[in-house]
């Protein structure tokens, strides 16, 4: 069980990092569907970076840099050239898929998948003092530095959003850009900043995904960007709630990994995260709708009762 929870935390980390990246975009009212593409760039760049520099850190930094560059190109197209953000995002995903698949061949002389030497895998950190804590220790110990970053970030982000000036500006831009502009906030700068953070976090997510397995696989993000979007719509872009939602997805990934070893059909098991994301995206709006209808019906019953001709107007 503790193994399972440990695995859950590890598998949740990439989704969480992408989701937090997406949170930046959604908070400034950019529905960034291209998360998937930026993360894939991050995966590929981390492997290339690690390979070229011979160090894991090089891989991580390269991933963040490339993903940042790509989000800035995307931002340029969306903000400066008035391009439809949705189509542009899908173009980014297509290019990410095509370019990583193509470049694999000239760079690594292989097709479809490249495995790094094991010494370039993301190292895990073993903290003896953490290990000593019962239950929590074995779950939280032995993770990579990026996993720890992912676990701490939601809390930092919460403070950033609600306690700092830039956080206030970001929230206001997302809720009403016109009002923000009229208060003297440079909406464009805030948006560029948010997308830059989005890019860096997507890059880190890709690095965690690829380097923890020390390999790159074509299309290895497998819809995690979209899963993250589903999680975000569930949590209403609240960082700490997003942490919880992503742990749920981590658990479903962990379940797939554990059960597929025991002879259950892999394809059906693999559907689990997607089905979960579907449920997460569909159920809350239905519940909200039902709650609304219930409230309305209750109001109708109490106010429209016969005999009350002109209520609540004293």
């Amino acid at each position: 069980m503790l193994d399972f929870l440990n695995l859950t935390v590890r598998l949740a980390a990439p989704v969480l990092l992408v989701a937090l990246g997406g949170l930046f975009s959604l908070r400034v009212n950019i529905f960034n569907i291209a998360l998937e593409g930026f993360m894939l760039f991050g995966c590929f760049a981390s492997v290339v970076g690690a390979y070229l520099t011979g160090s894991v850190l090089g891989g991580i930094l390269f991933a963040a840099a490339v993903s940042l560059l790509m989000t800035m190109v995307y931002a340029l197209f969306v903000f400066e050239l008035d391009v439809d953000p949705v189509i542009c995002a899908i173009a980014v995903i297509t290019i990410a898929g095509g370019l990583t698949r193509y470049l694999l061949i000239p760079i690594f002389h292989t097709s479809g998948r490249y495995i790094l030497p094991p010494e370039l895998a993301l190292p895990t950190v073993n903290l003896p003092w953490l290990e000593a804590i019962p239950v929590l220790g074995p779950i939280l110990n032995n993770h990579s530095i990026l996993v720890y970053l992912a676990l701490v970030l939601p809390f930092l982000l919460h403070i950033f959003l609600y306690k700092t000036d830039l956080g206030l500006s970001m929230r206001s831009v997302g809720l009403n850009a016109e009002a923000a502009a009229s208060a003297g906030i440079s909406v464009k700068k805030v948006r560029y900043f948010a997308l830059a953070m989005n890019g860096i976090l997507c890059g880190l997510a890709g690095a965690q995904l690829a380097l923890s397995l020390n390999l790159f696989n074509v299309g290895m993000t497998n819809g995690r960007g979209f899963t993250a979007l589903a999680a975000l719509t569930l949590t209403g872009f609240e960082p700490i709630l997003t942490l919880l939602a992503c742990l749920l997805f981590g658990a479903s990934d962990a379940l797939v990994l554990m059960l597929s070893g025991e002879g259950y059909p892999v394809q059906i098991l693999s559907m689990l995260p997607y089905v979960l994301a579907l449920v997460v995206a569909i159920v809350p709006p239905i519940v909200r709708r039902l709650a609304k209808n219930a409230r309305r019906r209750r109001a109708e019953r109490t106010l429209m009762a016969p005999g009350r001709e002109c209520p609540a107007q004293e």
Partner: protein, 508 residues
């Protein structure tokens, strides 16, 4: 003494028009300066230039004796603040957050909420508001939100306060309260620029009146005892343009449109219409007034069929249409001039042919067996252009390039040419110039004489008083009062009804 603000030769061009054409404008310290003019005269543009939102193409701005050029942040730093017509507020955020937005007091890199809250609390108290600084803006009513806008500007230490049509959404009583605040500010030395087109108010409050017309300064008056007609003529630019009035003489027939016991709730279960009943008779214009947001749009949507009522019935010529689709209602003789012609009244990307036949496209003469009859459609367009004097259209071109008046003529042509039994007109003259307003009024009155029952919803009290045969005022979704004899009531009486202060028993 050096004026606070001096704008010299300001010119601002937009692709289609010259919004300001070498305008000079001077504001003295402690002055309430009214800027009046028709819609599109360039008042708001001039003030946005002053507020740093638009850079002028030509001209100079002198603030406090120095020539300046700046953006919004720069204007705020110079002590120039603007309250926009549509509030620049974020309803989901708290009062304090809205006020400190963009100018937060900081401590160690974090927002110093304690200090901000304290200062905001002081300002709230000063304006007689009992709300907590942490209450969300969405919990305030319109008058309170306006005060917050003013506080927002004062929080920044503004010495020049620009108010863009501040009274448009207020009841007469709230307006009086606002004027009290403005006089107080003036006494403290703050200068106020007050944009309006309501002359009576302007004359009441202003020390100086500048009249704009077609992007230029048309005239200037010193406040106190100015003749209203002189200002009006400067505004309009012709000698004797009079708005058309309802002569209230025509025959009024039997009830055609009848709504009984309408109820409507929003998603939170808050009632938007409470047991509202009304009837409109043939040849009658029933005015529906009230402060915006008191159920007018829900009433219209229910009558037209865009919204399903929670309870109650709607009948048209004796037939219950409560369950009918929009198309069925229109086929039975319902016409609808929507409040917003840009989003609901027209397809801006469509051409005039497409806009004129929408809703009638599925029957003769415009189509046969599912095929569009292009010749008939084109002939119809020709007829409409002629009889409604629509100008500036070219075949196959989107209607979005037309002027507001010509757009509204297309809407009128589509809705009136079908000779409806009932016409629902929501804010039919909003944003139009006087010529176009009279054009719309003329057609509404002609339909009335032709026996159409007309429901006129308007936020403009003057319009309601001069066009309606009968008037009802909505307050919080129910009828606060009905006025059958419009000659006997004053605007102040109606204002009390609008504010929910008094109610009138329905007569009869």
């Amino acid at each position: 003494m050096e004026p606070v603000v001096r704008m010299v030769g300001i010119t601002k061009r937009f692709p289609a028009i010259v919004a300001n054409d070498s305008v000079d404008f001077t504001l003295e310290a402690g002055q309430i300066h009214a800027l009046v003019g028709e819609n599109g005269a360039g008042k708001t543009t001039l003030m946005r230039v002053l507020y740093g939102q638009y850079a002028p193409d030509e001209g100079e701005i002198w603030v406090g004796g120095e020539r300046r050029s700046y953006n919004v942040a720069g204007a705020l730093a110079l002590g120039i603040g603007m309250v926009h017509q549509n509030f620049m507020q974020i309803p989901e955020m708290s009062i304090v957050e809205n006020i400190i937005l963009g100018h937060t007091p900081k401590r160690l890199g974090f927002v110093n909420y304690r200090q901000a809250r304290q200062r905001v609390q002081e300002l709230l108290t000063r304006f007689g508001m009992k709300n907590s600084p942490d209450a969300p803006i969405s919990s305030l009513c319109v008058g309170e939100r306006q005060k917050i806008e003013i506080i927002k500007v004062l929080y920044l230490g503004a010495r020049v306060l620009i108010l863009d049509e501040p009274t448009a959404v207020l009841t007469p009583q709230e307006t009086t309260e606002l004027f009290g605040i403005l006089r107080e500010l003036k006494a403290e030395g703050t200068s106020v620029i007050f944009i309006s087109h309501k002359l009576r108010e302007v004359i009441e409050i202003a020390d100086r009146i500048t009249v704009m017309r077609k992007g230029r300064v048309a005239a200037g008056f010193d406040g106190g005892g100015v003749d209203e007609t002189a200002v009006a003529q400067a505004m309009i630019g012709k000698q004797d343009v009079q708005l058309l009035q309802n002569d209230k003489a025509a025959d009024i027939g039997a009830a055609v449109l009848e709504a009984k016991n309408l109820w409507c709730f929003d998603g939170d279960g808050v009632p938007k219409l409470r047991n509202l009943s009304l009837q409109v008779r043939a040849g009658e214009i029933l005015g529906v007034g009230g402060v915006e947001g008191n159920g007018q749009s829900q009433l219209i949507d229910i009558l037209v069929g865009m919204l399903q009522a929670s309870g109650g019935t709607v009948t048209l010529a004796g037939e219950d249409i409560s369950r009918c689709s929009i198309r069925e209602r229109r086929d039975r003789g319902l016409g609808y001039i929507p409040e917003d012609r840009m989003t609901t009244g027209l397809a801006l990307e469509g051409d005039i042919d497409e806009n004129l036949i929408c809703g009638c496209d599925n029957r003769g003469p415009f189509s046969r067996m599912g095929l569009l009859m292009r010749k008939a459609i084109r002939e119809n367009t020709g007829r409409m252009i002629e009889s409604f004097d629509i100008r500036g259209v070219s075949a196959g071109k989107p209607v979005k390039s037309l002027s507001g008046g010509n757009m509204q003529k297309i809407v009128l042509a589509r809705e009136i040419a079908r000779n409806p039994k009932v016409l629902i007109a929501a804010q039919p003259t909003r944003g139009l110039d006087i010529g176009a307003i009279n054009f719309v009024r003329e057609h509404l009155l002609a339909r009335k004489r032709g026996g159409t029952a007309i429901l006129l919803v308007s936020a403009d009290l003057e319009e309601l008083m001069s066009l309606s045969d009968r008037l009802i005022i909505l307050y919080e979704g129910s009828c606060a009062g009905e006025i059958t004899d419009l000659g006997t009531v004053s605007e102040a009486d109606i204002g009390l009804l609008m504010g929910g202060v008094t109610r009138r028993k329905k007569e009869g």
